[in-house]
């Protein structure tokens, strides 16, 4: 059977995580036909399915109010949140959580009420969840089940979107590589939603799915949209480090800490986080930026755990307490040879989330007509540091708004793309040669190490300049070693496309980090410690010709 080379729908949603699935559902509710595309399989890649536990939402029946959640979100963002985006997240969170509840998400309950966990940076227990460590799979499964019943949504996996198609400055669809066949595919759409998640797979130590390479940022930038706050990459402080576990997400210790506290200790088995201006006291109170700083600094001072992180100990907890907190996860740990009553494990910061992203307004519209963004792909709501629990809420809320806006735009926009707007990109994909001397998989690991070492949790002018030099020369070298499309599931071509994205998006992160001569939230400069009031501004990035143009803008009121 011949595969179609051209698809069309009113709305194209790129990325089938929580934000993309919600956007697709909402656009279909608006009466539009939808193509939901993902380079991975539908509802399996992305960050949502990996979420371990917390979803922050201010439920008024519990005495909470979105104003309190909003205040905490702004405080965590260290002065850089776009208030309209943060407000939207907090105010519309409850409606999305209740809607998901009606669709059978299965939020944990006690006596009929939602169970809520206290997470660092929140003024009260605010985070709903699905036991055990099952929030992400449950949210994904619920959304998949919902969208599978909507005939207006066509789901297409294995579709790696390579470029947005423009006509008269407006986005009219996208060009993609169909991974399974190796053939180019074009998609005409009245409106397009980028729901491609973040960029944390650009780092050596990451908790990302393979499709989280920053695709949406590169696509948006090339189409003329702006990016904002790109320098703010959140490192989750207590990502699993050692011993090696299989079948476990490196973020897995988060739920254990919510429920049991746990003790974070240095290599000498001393509590240390108070030396860095935070409180922990065997609870889980220090925000992610501070805890990351403390763990890395302690290890750098020669007081790390054997593998260069910190110890996390639950040895003071009883087997019954651990079983109540972890349920079947305790058995999975046992299968890995771990007994938490007898041994501490090692943890260290791991690239987890990107606060920055595509600049949109409160309708999720970029400055490119017809182009919207949602979820982690969007910048603004979380400023310089994200609170635990805000990512899934953001995915659901922003996905819903983006789907609604895209549906409205697709109705008003009669223009449809024809083959001519896709021709250049199709030709580009098919060009190339088999450059045997170049291993894109090896280069990808090299760039991940470069990003980790020079654009990671601690930054210096020298490191950032080194990274920029390497990323720019990589960008110049890549055209000569491009593999030609046509091979089924061509992993070397996929890596090459990822390298193009990494070179451009990595340059955005490094250039913004180099320009910001202060330390704030997740952006820590060794050569500029401490916050500088003059830097209470956002940085936006656009392309001017081939070069990046960085501007500083006052934080929106």
């Amino acid at each position: 059977m011949a595969l179609p080379q051209h698809l069309a729908a009113d709305v194209l949603v790129i990325g089938a995580g929580g934000a993309g699935m919600y956007a697709a559902i909402e656009a279909a509710r608006g009466g539009r036909s939808v193509i939901l595309a993902d380079r991975s399989l539908i509802g399996r890649g992305g960050a949502t399915v990996m979420a371990q536990m917390t979803v922050a939402v201010a439920l008024e029946e519990s005495g909470d109010h979105p104003e309190h959640h909003y205040a905490d979100t702004l405080a965590a963002g260290r002065g850089l949140c776009d208030p309209a985006m943060s407000r939207l997240l907090c105010e519309q969170g409850p409606a999305r959580i209740r809607e998901m509840d009606g669709w059978g998400a299965g939020w944990a309950r006690e006596n009929g009420a939602f169970k809520r966990a206290l997470a660092p940076g929140h003024d009260r227990a605010r985070c709903v969840y699905v036991d055990f460590l099952n929030t992400g799979p449950a949210v994904s499964k619920t959304l998949r089940a919902k969208l599978n019943r909507i005939p207006e949504i066509r789901r297409v996996g294995d579709l790696l979107v390579r470029a947005l198609a423009l006509r008269d400055g407006a986005c009219v669809g996208a060009s993609a590589l169909h991974l399974a066949s190796g053939q180019p595919v074009s998609i005409a759409a009245g409106a397009t939603v980028l729901a491609t998640g973040g960029l944390t797979r650009m780092y050596r130590r990451n908790s990302a799915s393979a499709n989280m390479m920053g695709d949406g940022y590169a696509l948006a930038l090339a189409a003329g949209a702006e990016l904002v706050d790109m320098e703010f990459v959140q490192f989750f402080p207590i990502g699993h480090l050692a011993p090696r576990l299989v079948g476990m997400d490196p973020i897995m210790w988060d739920p254990f800490r919510y429920k049991l506290g746990g003790r974070l200790l240095n290599g000498r088995r001393e509590e240390f986080i108070q030396r860095y201006g935070a409180q922990d006291d065997g609870k889980y109170l220090a925000t992610r930026d501070v805890a990351t700083y403390a763990i890395v600094k302690e290890a750098a001072a020669g007081r790390g755990s054997p593998h260069g992180g910190a110890w996390l100990s639950f040895e003071h907890c009883s087997e019954a307490e651990l079983r109540a907190a972890g349920g079947p996860v305790i058995d999975r740990l046992a299968a890995n040879g771990i007994d938490l009553t007898r041994q501490a494990i090692e943890v260290a910061p791991i690239a987890h989330y990107h606060m920055g992203g595509v600049r949109v307004d409160a309708t999720m519209a970029t400055r490119v007509p017809g182009l919207y963004a949602a979820g982690e792909a969007v910048g603004g709501a979380n400023g310089a540091n994200r609170l635990s629990g805000n990512a899934i809420t953001e995915a659901l809320v922003f996905g819903c708004v983006a789907g609604k806006s895209a549906a409205r735009h697709a109705r008003s926009d009669g223009t449809k793309a024809d083959a001519s707007v896709f021709a250049t990109e199709k030709k580009r994909l098919l060009e190339g040669r088999n450059a045997l001397e170049f291993n894109p998989a090896a280069m990808l690991e090299e760039i991940q190490s470069l990003m980790q070492d020079d654009v990671g949790p601690f930054r210096t002018q020298a490191g950032l300049e080194r990274a920029l030099g390497k990323l720019r020369s990589l960008r110049a070298e890549l055209p000569a070693v491009k593999p030609a499309a046509g091979v089924p599931y061509d992993t070397a071509l996929a890596d090459w496309l990822d390298l193009c994205t990494m070179a451009r998006v990595g340059e955005c992160v490094a250039a913004a980090a180099l320009a910001r001569t202060e330390s704030r939230g997740a952006h820590q400069r060794e050569d500029f410690p401490g916050m500088d009031a003059q830097w209470a501004v956002n940085q936006s990035i656009a392309v001017a010709g081939e070069a990046l143009r960085i501007e500083t803008n006052a934080v929106p009121a």
């Binding site: 990996m50 992400g136 789901r155 297409v156 299989v246 599931y489």
Partner: protein, 111 residues
């Protein structure tokens, strides 16, 4: 302490005669077969086709293959000393090498 596994991998695309290629893969105890396949791509042959997404969490369920004749997830089977035979799923349409068509038909381009 590093050990070595010999991964014998069945490769090829539909319509080609399948071929076996083998690599000696060094590993630290505890590492998964998926780690070994990723090592082969970065260190030996980037054209080896494998499908995975979450890498370590066993949540995406994309890395399903046959190892030693059993259908398993490559991310949770540990590398061990000696020969390990890795093959694509026999009951799914072959895409290339270890990648098979595991998505439901209505989630594919031709579906």
């Amino acid at each position: 302490m590093s050990a070595t596994a010999k991964l014998v991998i069945r490769r090829g695309a539909p319509g080609e005669p399948p071929r076996e290629e083998s690599w000696d893969v060094p590993f630290e105890p505890g590492q998964s077969v998926l780690d070994g396949l990723r090592w082969i791509r970065a260190q030996r042959d980037p054209t080896l086709a494998i499908r995975y997404s979450c890498t370590n969490a066993n949540s995406c369920k994309e890395c399903m293959v046959r190892i030693g004749g059993k259908t398993v997830y490559a991310c949770i089977v540990r590398l061990r000393e000696g020969t390990m035979k890795v093959e694509p799923l026999p009951n799914k349409a072959l895409v290339r090498d270890l990648v098979t068509e595991i998505a439901p038909p209505d989630e594919r381009l031709g579906g």
